[in-house]
Symmetry: C2
């Protein structure tokens, strides 16, 4: 397994592979790998001839007061995992290789995908994400790139950017991988104490309560949100940052469950939330298909 | 010569060429081709195996009240010129192929290259340029791209963007091509009446006066600007939008000719101006090497 330290060398490597007709997959990560990342790696290994995993804790997507300094960086352990999995190359540039003096370009997505969710709480975050992913895409020039659905908005921002800038890259978004108790896997889970770790299961429990409410068609969108907030409210360590129910295709907040939603995700709605537990910001989400039936009739009655 | 109408087809064509080991050159234009463009085309034909010329009048780089609607589009004539020159493909997407509904990504360069010159007079212009050039680069995936020095700031914005986003593209900037009387070639010269056309030669005459002043070391930067404005002032049809003397490498405005300038352009300074003649906005510029000697001694004395 090769370890590549700067964009130019990665380009040369990818160029060689491309000229040999190889299909290249990229899994962009910030390292501190868990089963969520490894599910992306395996997907790439299955459908590509060469798999590159990038490990780069991207400073420009962290806001002031966020956890850039303390973000875990177990590089040796990560490399061992990736080598064992059969990855071909780890792209691991330094911050100064990515952002040399004079660097002054940014890539920004606007529009509905940034109308809510994490965007208002992390100003500049998605500009930092779009910029670094554009650089990673240009360095690796993959045919396909793999992202996890836990960062649902991030994946949609990347998909939008890749399409808008004609990058010709197939952006794949894979399901959230969860611990046995339902907690979505995240490198940030390591910040939690034992008590906090238990409290963190409230995100998944709350989303399930919301899904049950939608599937049973027992109430309107306010009732669904009440059900989710009810579960969250019973966990004293949880401080809710946002709870939104959006169109899973456009990420626009919904005001009712009866309206048309974009067909992108099979007409699904997205329930998404961010919750702080012991100061650690955790996010989770769930896509649910809204049953035809009562919700549609509600609309027709209006 | 192939005529390609959308990014995906261009990508396929370029992909075929790249797999065959061909070096690809791109000349991005808005059409209405003149000898300035053709000098870029010939440079690409000389050093690349395949040359693509893009013809796209990019709506997002025109501000409100600018000449988007009336910009000349003699596509058939342009194609005849390019076929005769030996160009391999014309990439000619429609605005809706480039900006389909939902398009919402922009690429923006900030920093010193945008500190002056055209930037304050055309808000959003260089964001439009960077965005469309990123798309053209991703569609054509050239090894080298050719730009004219008349749009000096544009070329520097593109160079900065390509480097910052790791595009791996060699951005070449070729000298201004002038009419016999010195007027820099531009598609917009066609807007001028016969009187206006004569008046327009004042830009080059003014720049030469500035160059003579610098080379002869007869005065400081204010004296150079006075010499340039003197020539411009004698042409009643010319309305000066800006006149700047900048570091040709960083595009930062200079306050003296004796200081250090960036080595990018061999320590040259850039004299640049924008002038309206009969409402038509004309730009021109000249790079001059500042003689060691009196200017340096001036500094030492301070």
């Amino acid at each position: 397994m090769l370890i590549i330290g700067n964009p130019r060398n990665q380009q040369e490597l990818s160029g060689r592979w491309r000229r040999a007709g190889k299909r290249i997959g990229l899994v962009p990560t910030m390292g501190s790998l868990h089963e969520g990342h490894m599910s992306l790696v395996r997907a790439s290994l299955r459908s590509c001839d060469r798999t590159v995993v990038s490990i780069f804790v991207n400073p420009i997507q962290f806001g002031p007061g966020e956890d850039l300094a303390k973000y875990p960086r177990p590089f040796i352990r990560d490399c061992a995992l990736l080598r064992k999995a059969g990855v071909d190359a780890v792209f691991h540039p330094s911050p100064s290789a990515m952002y040399p003096p004079g660097f002054s370009t940014s890539v920004e997505v606007s529009g509905t995908v940034l109308s809510g969710l994490c965007s208002p709480f992390r100003p500049g975050h998605f500009r930092g994400v779009a910029t670094v992913v554009a650089k990673l895409f240009n360095s690796v020039r993959p045919d396909a790139a793999y992202f996890g659905a836990k960062d649902f908005q991030q994946a949609e921002v990347v998909r939008r950017m890749a399409a808008d800038l004609d990058m010709g890259i197939d952006v794949r978004v894979l399901p959230i991988v969860r611990e046995k108790d339902g907690l979505a896997m995240s490198s940030r889970n390591a910040y939690l104490s034992k008590t906090g770790r238990y409290a963190a299961t409230v995100l998944y429990r709350a989303l399930r309560a919301g899904r049950d409410k939608i599937v049973s068609q027992e109430g309107d969108i306010r009732a669904v949100k009440r059900a989710i907030r009810g579960v969250l409210g019973r966990e004293p360590l949880a401080r809710v940052e946002y709870l939104e129910i959006s169109d899973a295709g456009t990420l626009e907040p919904l005001s009712s469950l009866g309206g048309r939603v974009s067909p992108t995700f099979g007409g699904r709605v997205l329930m998404a939330l961010a919750v702080r537990v012991e100061g650690t910001r955790l996010i989770d989400n769930m896509c649910v298909r809204v049953p035809l039936g009562r919700y549609r009739r509600q609309i027709r009655r209006k």
